[in-house]
Amino acid sequence: MQYKSQAVAKLYFIAAIGLFVGQILFGVILGLQYVIGDFLFPEIPFNVARMVHTNLLIVWLLFGFMGAAYYLVPEEAERELVSPGLAVLMFWVFLIAGALTILGYLLVPYSGLAQMTGNDLLPTMGREFLEQPTITKIGIVVVALAFLYNIGMTILSGRKTVVNLVLLIGLVGLAVFFLFSFYNPDNLVKDKYYWWWVVHLWVEGVWELILGSILAFVLIKTTGVDREVIEKWLYVIIAMTLITGIIGTGHHYYWIGTPDYWQWWGSVFSAMEPIPFFMMTVFAFNMVNRRRRNHPNKAAVLWALGTAVMAFLGAGVWGFLHTLAPVNYYTHGTQITAAHGHMAFYGAYVMIVLTMISYAMPMLRGRKAASSNRSQVLEMWSFWLMTVSMVFITLFLTGAGILQTYLQRYSDTPLPFMVVQEKIELFYWMREVAGVVFLIGLLVYIASFFVGTKEPEVVLEQTDA
C-alpha cells in the first residue's frame, strides 16, 4: 500500500464479504423453497427471499467496486484520495441505507414498505432488481455522486492512466444508466424497454469496463508485464464489449411488445458478445505466461485467471446458448436464464471483486505483498470449492431448464408450469446440494483471513532471466 487513503478500501471490502454471506444464505433458502414449497411460508415468502438475494448481490458488488476504486485509483493517480473522510462517511450512509432496506424487505410486507416510503409520489418499486424503495434509490444516486466526485477529482488532478480512465467511464456509466430506474410509465412495453437500459447496459455494458480495468490493474501488478501492452489490450477488449453489447441489448427486445426487427439485430450482435470475453481469457493467460516475475500472491493470480475463464463460460458461452431469437422463443424465462444468470454474475463480477480483495487485502492488513502460505492455500481451496460448485449449480439449472423448455414449451402436449416443476425436482435438489457446497466454500474463504496471520508471508522470487 503506497498511499494512506487507500486504507478506506478495507471497510468496503469487509462489508462486501459480509453482505456476500447474507446473499448466499438467502440463496440456500431459495433453493430449498424450490423443493419444499412451504419452507418459511408465510414468514419469508419466496419473493422476499429472492429480493434479498438479488439486492444483496447488487449492493455487495457495488461495495466491492467502490472498494476496488478506492484502492486502485490513488495508486494509479499517484496521489492521495481527494477526501478519505467523504469515502468513510459515504460508506456508512450506504451501509445503513442498504441494511435498512433489507430489514424493510424482511420485516414489513412489501406493499407496506411501498406505502411507508411514499412510493405513490414517484412509483419506482416492484420491478425486478429495482425493488428498492424510491428513497433508497435516491440515496444510491447521492452516494454514487459523492463517490464519483471523490474518485473523479483524484483522477483528474493526478496521473491519468488508461486503467483509471476506463474505470471512471465505467463508474460514470453505472450512475447515468441507473437514472433510468426512475422512469416507470404505466405502459408496460416502455417500462420494460427502459428497464433494460439499467439492467443490460449495466451488466453487459459499463460493468464490463469496471471489470476490465480492475483485471488490467491486478495483471499489471502481479505479472510485471509492460503497462503499455496491457492497456492497449484493455482498450481493444472493452471496445469489442461495447460494439457488441450496446446493440446486443436487442436480445431482450424479442417478446416484450417491441418491433420484430430486434430479433435480428439482437441475435446478430449478441451472438458476438462472447468475443470480448474470449479475448479477455486469452489476454489474461497471455499476460500471466509473459510475466516478468512470480508474484508471491498466488491466490490473486488464480482469482484473476478464474475470472477470465468463468466470465467467458458464464457470460459468453451460457449467454450464447439462448441468445438467438429462435432458441430464445422457447427458453425465454425458464431455468436456462437462471443458469446463465448464476454463472455470469459469479464468473464476471463476484470473481473480479474477490480478485481485487485477494490482491489488496494483504497490503490493507499491513503485509508487504501477500498472505502467509497457509492462508493462501486455504483461499485457493475456497476458490475451487466455490467455482466448481457454481459450475454444478449452472449445470443442474441448465438440465432443469432444458427439461422445462421441452415439457412446457416444445412438446406436442405442453404441460402446465407447476406440473413441470414437480417433474424436474431432482435437478433442484442437486442444485441445492451444490449451493450448500458453495456456502461451505464461502466459509472457507472467510476462514482464510484468520489463519496464518502470525506466519511470515510468501516471499517474492525474481525470475528476470
Binding site: 418499486m125 416492484g126 404505466d186 481493444v236 450496446i246 411488445g257
Partner: protein, 143 residues
Amino acid sequence: MSQAFTKAMARNIFYGGSVFFFLLFLALTFDSEATFPERDNRQNITESVAMGKRLWEENNCIGCHTLLGEGAYFAPELGNAYKRLGGREGIMAFIMSRPKDGVPGRRSMPQFNFTQEELEALADFLKYVSEINTADWPPNIQG
C-alpha cells in the same frame, strides 16, 4: 510501414466504436418508439389498468412470476394468464382463493386480501398485458 499496434489507435476505436453504436442504438430506439403505438395496446390503458400495474409492483409479483418472460421463475408466466385462467373472473377467483397459511409442502401464492376494486384492477392489468403484440410469445397457453 512497420507493423504497429498502438494504444492511441486502440483508444480511438474504443471511443469511436462506443459512440457509433450508442448512436445506432438511439436511432433504433427512436424507430421502436414510433412502432410502439401499434403494438403496446396503449389505447386500453385505463385508470384501472394503471392501478393494477401499481398493485402488481407494490406486491412484488415479479418476485415469483414472470411477466412476458421476465421476472422470477418460481411461479407461472402471467403475460397470458388472462387467457389461461379464463378471463377476468378466473383471475380474480384464483387470487381470492389462496389459503392464508399456504399449502403444506407445496408452493402457494400468499393471500393478499385485496378489495374488489383492487382485484378488478389486477384483472384489467393482466387483460391489457395479454393483448400486447409479443410476436406470438409464449409458444403455447402454458406460458
